[in-house]
Amino acid sequence: MSEIMTIASSTWQRILRMKSVYFLILCVLILIASAYNYSVLSLDCHRELMVDVALLLNTIAAVITAISISFEIPKELREGVASTLLSKPLGRTQYLVGKLVGMIVAGLVITGLITIGYLFVFNSFFNDVNVAMFQAQLLVMASVIPMCAIALLISVLIPENLAPLFTAVAIWFSFSVTKLSNLQYVYGGILPDLNLYNIRAEASYGVPVAWSYFSLVILWGLVFAIFSTSIASMIFSQKDLK
């Protein structure tokens, strides 16, 4: 457990020490605030626009955080850092789980900062933060967990130069293909269903979802992350690191 936390803490500290992360968060908040100026162009729908822009940008931040795993692991494998770590009494599974946890924590911090900033900005302009908005932002934060798990799996399967692209496509697929939700146990079981985190329309119109739904979605994300990580670990265990 301590090895996992050591790997995780070095991962999230390295990411969260980068000043560019905070600069990007600031840019995101400025973009969110600028949606207020679209009142004329949107015929007074700027409130809904601000909610949508915030959710869009926060989701993009979560996706970028997840994609960075698919750079991270192949790069460490190429540079030999991973093989150095794994020559110590550190299991491959612990290594992967540590990376995953580290990236999830970094993603939660980044999306959390955007969420707090957005709620502050929105409250300043409209003085009206409702539960649905808050739930939608929390779900975007929680979506970091399965996204990072998807990225982790792809990073052990696909070579470094293609892994980020495949991760982006996989995440897009997970959000998009709602028709597959009829394939019970397959979509949501094997294939990720990130559309479960999508309550953007409800957030815009102030319609909260049940807290039971909210809890089940987070539980699903955790279970899917375990599923995806166990496959990644099984593949990584068989992989020749040289």
Binding site: Y38, L41, S42, L43, C45, E48, L49, D52, V53, L55, L56, T59, W172, F175, S176, V177, T178, S181, Q184, Y185, V186, Y187, G188, G189, I190, D193, L194, N195, L196, N198, I199, R200, A201, E202, S204, Y205, V207, V209, A210, Y213, L216, V217, L219, W220, V223, F224, I226, F227, S230, I231, S233, M234, S237
Partner: protein, 342 residues
């Protein structure tokens, strides 16, 4: 090594089963999927709502650039609106502005768009969409005078009335307008399953339409055991007059008596409605205005009226049951029994 592999496989299987089960439960939650845009979900990657915002702003830009809505521009407007509501079916403003833009040139298309909003679960409590649908049918449809169109409009307007928390004046007015047109189209009306009267004037048709609504309300309130709701609401506006059905009909009857006193059908209608709705009310026979106790002549038209409310002994106006001047019981025992029986 084998133990590790077995452990991995076990974890995979268990998490697959649990994850699949949870996803199945979540996807069957209809309330969650109520506000989803069905079209373009694949390309938008779940960002349908944002896509509809962008399309909306582009639509506003386009609407500002055209001089008028005509045969050339209306198909473009229709296409843009459908794209917006496909991505966000609960976007009320798109229905409102889009349908009103198309209502004159392409009322059928306007109605199609409004029907999408009418059937959307996220807008199930919105009263404006059915109101606009009823309005478009009665004012812009090519066959707006036919019974089929009018009954369709009535269906929408009734939904608008039922959905609005405090019935808006113009919604009720529009419903009465439609019902009156239907009565006039029918050509006659049957009172209390006995008397059939021809419907020959607009005011008469409106009186009958309001009378119909009053009867429906009486039936509903007797089933529910509550008093009928006022016809208009003063919620949100202090300038609104809070009227009820009786006052509306009375006002219409007074106006009809003045302007259409020669029309026998109107006079017969007024008499029948008066006997059904205003049994205990003291109304002048000539102008239908009410008069107070002790009055000999109507203050509105000067006609002689039947005096009531006087003490049988000292002929002063009685304010309660007993005369305040001589103490006489103003209501004789026979009348008391009749009143109690009622």
């Amino acid at each position: 090594m084998n133990r590790r592999l077995v452990a991995h496989v076990m974890v995979m299987l268990i998490s697959f089963m649990i994850g699949g089960f949870i996803a199945k439960q979540l996807n069957s939650n209809e309330a969650k999927t109520a506000m989803k845009g069905k079209a373009f979900s694949t390309t938008c990657a779940g960002f349908n709502k944002f896509a509809s915002d962008v399309q909306w702003m582009l639509f506003i830009n386009y609407a500002g650039s055209i001089k008028s809505v005509n045969k050339e521009t209306s198909p473009v407007i229709c296409k843009k609106l459908r794209a917006i509501i496909a991505n966000d079916p609960s976007f009320f403003k798109a229905y409102e502005i889009g349908a009103l833009m198309l209502s004159v040139e392409e009322p059928e298309k306007a109605l199609e768009i409004l029907e999408i909003g009418f059937n959307d679960k996220g807008l199930s409590s919105n009263w404006k969409i059915p109101f606009y649908a009823g309005y478009v049918l009665t004012h812009h449809f090519p066959d707006k005078e036919t019974s089929k169109t009018l009954s369709r409009a009535e269906k929408y307007l009734k939904v608008a009335v039922s959905r609005s928390a405090g019935t808006e004046r113009h919604v009720m007015s529009q419903l009465i307008y439609v019902k009156a047109k239907e009565r006039k189209n029918d050509g006659s009306y049957t009172f209390s399953k006995k008397v059939v009267i021809p419907v020959t004037s607009d005011k008469q048709a409106r009186i009958i339409a309001l009378f119909d609504e009053w009867q429906d309300t009486q039936k509903r309130s007797s089933m529910l055991g509550s008093a009928p709701a006022p016809i208009y609401s003063s919620i949100g506006s202090e300038n609104f007059n809070t009227l009820n059905y009786e006052e509306m009909i009375l006002s219409l009857m007074q106006s009809a008596k003045q302007s259409e006193s020669e029309n026998k059908d109107v006079i017969d209608t007024i008499s029948l409605v008066r006997s059904e709705m205003f049994k205990g009310r003291h109304l002048c026979d000539k102008c239908i205005f009410s008069f107070g106790p002790g009055e000999k002549f109507c203050s509105s038209c000067g006609a002689t009226v039947q005096i009531y409310g006087l003490c049988p002994k000292c002929s002063l106006v009685v304010k309660g049951r007993f005369c305040s001047n001589c103490g006489t019981d103003a209501i004789p025992p026979k009348k008391m029994e009749q009143a109690e029986h009622k």
